[in-house]
C-alpha cells in the first residue's frame, strides 16, 4: 500500500468507518511506515482539538423573540392564505351579507305592517324596543317611509350559536365566536314570498337561556 492511500484511509479508520479488510491493510502498512504512524497521531490530535471546541452558542434573548415574532407573522399569513383559498368561505362571505340585507328588508316590512295594523309596536328580534318608527331600511327603501331605530342588529341582542354548523369551512368552524344566531336567518324562506309577510309572524324564539320569547326583540 502506498502512503497516499494509507493517509486517505486514516480519517475513516479514526472514525471507525473503514471496512475491516481495508483496516487490516492499513494496520499492516502503519506497522512498517513511521511517517504514516506520525500522520495518524497528528490526525488524532486534530480530532481531539476539534472535539474540544464548543458546539453550542449562547442564544440572545432578542434572537428568540425576533424568531418567535417572525413565526407568528408567518402563521397569520398562512391562515389568511388558507381562508382566501377556501371556496366555502368565499360563498359565505358573499351570501351571508346578502341574506342579512334581505333579512333587514324583511324586518323593516314586518315592522311597517305591524305598526300599521297593531297598536303595539312591532317587535324586531334583533333591535331594541323603540317607539313606533319604521326601521332603517335597505338602501332602496323609499325615503318617505318612517324609520325605526336600530334595525341593524345590536351586538347585545346577538345570541351565540350553541353548536357550530358542520358544513362550515375549517377556518370558520375554528372561530365559533364569529357565528351568531340572527333571528331573521331562521325565516329566510319567508323572505322569498313577500305576500306572506303580512300574515306571517316572525318567530323570535331563539331558545335563549331563559327560554323566554322576547317579543320586543
Amino acid at each position: 500500500m502506498r502512503c497516499e492511500r494509507a493517509q486517505e484511509w486514516i480519517v475513516e479508520a479514526l472514525e471507525d468507518t473503514l471496512a475491516p479488510r481495508r483496516r487490516r491493510a492499513l494496520d499492516t502498512h502503519l506497522a512498517a511506515c513511521p511517517s504514516c504512524r506520525q500522520e495518524i497521531e497528528t490526525t488524532e490530535r486534530l480530532f481531539g482539538a476539534l472535539d474540544a471546541l464548543p458546539i453550542e452558542a449562547e442564544v440572545p434573548v432578542r434572537l428568540e423573540q425576533a424568531t418567535l415574532r417572525a413565526v407568528r407573522i408567518a402563521a397569520a399569513e398562512e391562515a389568511e392564505r388558507q381562508a382566501e383559498r377556501a371556496p366555502g368561505f368565499r360563498w359565505f362571505r358573499v351570501m351571508v351579507p346578502a341574506f342579512a340585507a334581505a333579512a333587514t328588508v324583511a324586518v323593516a316590512l314586518v315592522a311597517t305592517q305591524r305598526s300599521a295594523t297593531s297598536p303595539a309596536p312591532a317587535s324586531v328580534a334583533t333591535s331594541k324596543p323603540a317607539p313606533p318608527q319604521v326601521a332603517k331600511a335597505a338602501p332602496r327603501k323609499p325615503e318617505s317611509e318612517p324609520r325605526v331605530a336600530a334595525a341593524k342588529p345590536a351586538p347585545r341582542e346577538r345570541t351565540q350559536l350553541a353548536a357550530v354548523p358542520v358544513d362550515l369551512p375549517v377556518e370558520l368552524s375554528e372561530r365559533p365566536d364569529l357565528l351568531f344566531a340572527l333571528p331573521m336567518l331562521h325565516n329566510l324562506d319567508k323572505v322569498e314570498h313577500f305576500e306572506k309577510i303580512q300574515t306571517t309572524v316572525v318567530d323570535d324564539d331563539m331558545g335563549t337561556p331563559s327560554g323566554d320569547t322576547d317579543s320586543n326583540g
Binding site: V11, L46, I55, E56, V59, L63, T67
Partner: protein, 210 residues
C-alpha cells in the same frame, strides 16, 4: 355473529408513532406539526444553540449567523409538514441550516470575516474552548489549549465552504457520512473526500500546534 374487524391502523401513522416513542426529537416535531406553539418554542430552545454555533462557524459572521438562525426556524415552521419521522430531526434541521449558510456564502457582496474571537464583552467566554480540569493542567497548558482552539477556529473559517460544512457536520453535529451527504446534497464518497481534504488542510495550517 363474528365481530366486525377493527379498522386497520394506517401504517404510516403507526410507524410515526413508534418513532416518536423512540425518539423525543421526533415526538417534538410531530407536536409542532400538530400546531402546538409551545412545542415550537421548545424546539427552538433545544436546537438553536447548536444551529447558531454551526452557522457562526460556517458563515463566519455573528450578525449573519443570527439572521440565518432566524431564517432556519421560520423555514422549519413554514415547511413543518414536509418533515418525515423516518429521518432524524437533527439531520433535517442541519440540512436546512447548511443550505441557508451556503446560499449566504454564495452572495458576492458577503465577504467572509473571521471575527469569531472579537471582544464582545464576555459573550465569547461562554463559547470559549472547554478547558480541561485546571487542577490537572498547568497554566501554560491551558493557554496553549486556548490558543489551539483559536487557531483551529480560524483555520476552519479559512476552508472552502463545502469542506468547512462537511467537517463541521461530521465532527460537531454527530451526523454520519450518510446524513452529511443528505445535508450537502452529494454522495457519501464526495463527503469522505471533502472531510479528507479538510483534515489535510487543517493539519497543514496547524502543524505548529498539533
Amino acid at each position: 355473529m363474528p365481530a366486525e374487524p377493527a379498522d386497520p391502523v394506517p401504517v404510516v401513522e403507526s410507524a410515526a408513532a413508534s418513532r416518536a416513542a423512540a425518539d423525543p426529537d421526533v415526538a417534538l416535531m410531530l407536536r409542532v406539526q400538530a400546531g402546538d406553539q409551545a412545542a415550537f418554542q421548545e424546539l427552538f430552545r433545544k436546537f438553536s444553540p447548536r444551529i447558531l454555533k454551526f452557522a457562526r462557524r460556517l458563515v463566519g459572521n455573528d450578525a449573519r449567523a443570527e439572521e440565518v438562525t432566524q431564517d432556519v426556524f421560520v423555514q422549519v415552521f413554514r415547511f413543518r409538514d414536509r418533515y418525515r419521522p423516518e429521518s432524524r430531526l437533527s439531520t433535517w434541521l442541519f440540512t436546512i441550516t447548511t443550505n441557508f449558510c451556503l446560499n449566504e456564502l454564495r452572495r458576492p457582496e458577503r465577504r467572509l470575516r473571521v471575527d469569531l474571537w472579537d471582544d464582545r464583552g464576555g459573550e465569547d467566554r461562554a463559547e470559549g474552548p472547554s478547558l480541561p480540569d485546571p487542577d490537572a493542567i498547568t497554566p501554560e497548558e491551558g493557554a496553549s489549549s486556548r490558543e489551539l482552539a483559536q487557531q483551529l477556529d480560524a483555520a476552519i473559517a479559512a476552508l472552502p465552504p463545502k469542506q468547512r460544512a462537511a467537517i463541521l457536520l461530521s465532527r460537531f453535529d454527530g451526523l454520519n457520512y450518510q446524513d452529511v451527504a443528505a445535508a450537502l446534497g452529494c454522495t457519501e464518497g464526495a463527503v469522505k473526500a471533502l472531510v479528507f481534504r479538510a483534515t489535510q488542510s487543517l493539519k497543514q495550517t496547524l502543524k505548529d500546534y498539533l
